[in-house]
Amino acid sequence: MAVKLSTRDEQLLNGQHGKAARMAMRILVRMAEVQGAPEMMDVSQAHIDGCGLLSETGLEFAETLAAKGGKVSIPTTLNMGPLDLQDWKRFGVDEGFAAKAIRQAKAYTDMGCIPTWTCAPYQSYLTPRFGQQIAWGESNAICYANSVLGARTNRYGDFIDICAAITGRVPKCGLHLKQNRKGQILLRLIDIEPATRRNNAFFAILGHLIGSLAEDKIPVIEGLPINVSSDQLKALCAAAASSGEVALFHAVGVTPEANTLEEAFHGGKPQRIIDIHLSDLQRSEADLSTAREGDKLDLIVLGCPHFSFDEFRELATLIRAKTEKGETLHPDVEFVVISSQTSYALLQRSDFLGVLTDFGIEITLDTCIFHTPMVSPDTKVIMTNSGKCAYYAPGQLGVRVAFGSMAKCVDSAVEGCVCRKEMIG
């Protein structure tokens, strides 16, 4: 099926806007054919995920586009990169790796991308508005942008993101179109106490469960607390987009396209109704951990997705309570928090930074433990409050993982072993 192209699309494809735009447009038009899109459409903002992983192919792709004179035509933010750009030497990163990571970063900033370097761009800079057509990569950010902000993006993979940023065009299909955003299945939270629903760990556990229940459908959640915070929704999105492929969910009374159940389903009926009981959440919680209670702990990782200022504040409160009792970080445990320059700038203007660093917490910015080689090969057991990190760590890092709330992570940091009993219930 031929994709209908505008005059400008044709010019982009002919190379009239440069060689990089030509290559970008070729990829976009091939993807429009794959997706069955009848034509292309404008987007007004992009978020690049392709800058995150350092691979030979990813570096070559970015440098090829930059060498061909590629420049973004719309405001474009960058996901976390493969390196803490300011402070990588502190984390024992190999110099050869760092040199390539810096080249990759330069290729993207040379093309005009904004050096945000964060996987939580919706808490950083240039937050998209309701209904805005955008091209975002990074699975958790895609889910957040669509669901929580009501902006419209498909799941853009690495490399098409920069193509969209250069041309300002994407295939017109999928979640860009209102009719494809209606809820398909209904998930009802049944016998779950309000206190449980306020527990921060609840959101990652629920997200992990929803990812596996929703399959390729758009879920509508009934029963989320209406005062849910941005960080809690962030945790839900990250987990649901890891155990599953959730790019959009609605939460009745919480998210902007679901003021009512009827609105969430565009006046239609759910294809399926699934009731979520406390026992389902308990199973989901158990599934997030591969390490056992009492296992000796090597590393705690918080900030997947990147820590916000509010999360730093919550952590500092927990740490202060420990230090006031004379409790300290166990000498065998490394404690790392990952964040963005934006959140860190706020942290530096608060009293919390000293509380955290005095306890022995290392803060790393711009990157991710999965993409920068900072986890020592001796690391056997890690603990995290992130459903996403817990999902990927066993395969990606070859470690056993314990999932626990932030408070349980802090308890375990002091004990030197996994202490996470009875979080939900």
Binding site: V34, G50, E56, T57, G157, I160, Y391
Partner: protein, 145 residues
């Protein structure tokens, strides 16, 4: 050996032959597949430990990370990618990995989507041949007596 023909939808055109590696579960290629060895490394996946390299990888669809396109492209460059992918649903992120690899290196792997009945008719170790027009021929592994 009996042989039958399935008609699929071309996602990325190409031809390939190989032995089917079948899963009923979706997979995130990033975090789920090693681009250096071809091993399925998602420790929660039913085929964790299996190696897709040179096989026709039959699984319903991708999930998870938007970096999966980069993982697929890296695995093609490293020569350890599946020979072809057969899905139940078009996954734009996997298609992208093969298409960008084609644009950059002139190397891609075919991706075909089958309807439900045909998809589930393929069994582990069947010998598959994927054609550029989306046809998939299946030679059924003789059952041991």
């Amino acid at each position: 050996m009996t042989k039958r023909f399935l008609v699929g939808r071309v996602v990325v055109a190409g031809s390939a032959q190989g032995i089917a590696l079948v899963s009923k579960e979706p997979l995130s290629f990033w975090g789920g597949l090693s681009p250096n060895t071809g091993e399925i490394i998602d420790r929660r996946h039913e085929r964790s430990g299996a190696n897709v390299s040179g096989r026709i990888f039959v699984f319903p669809r991708g999930k998870g990370s938007s970096t999966s396109s980069a993982t697929l492209m890296e695995s093609i460059k490293n020569g350890i990618a599946p020979a072809a992918i057969v899905n139940l649903k078009v996954d734009p992120i996997l298609a992208l990995g093969s298409i960008v690899s084609d644009e950059l290196y002139n190397r891609s792997i075919p991706i075909v989507v089958l309807d439900e009945q045909d998809f589930y008719s393929i069994k582990e170790d069947d010998y598959l041949s994927v054609e550029p027009d989306g046809k998939v021929s299946v030679s059924i592994k003789p059952t041991a007596k």
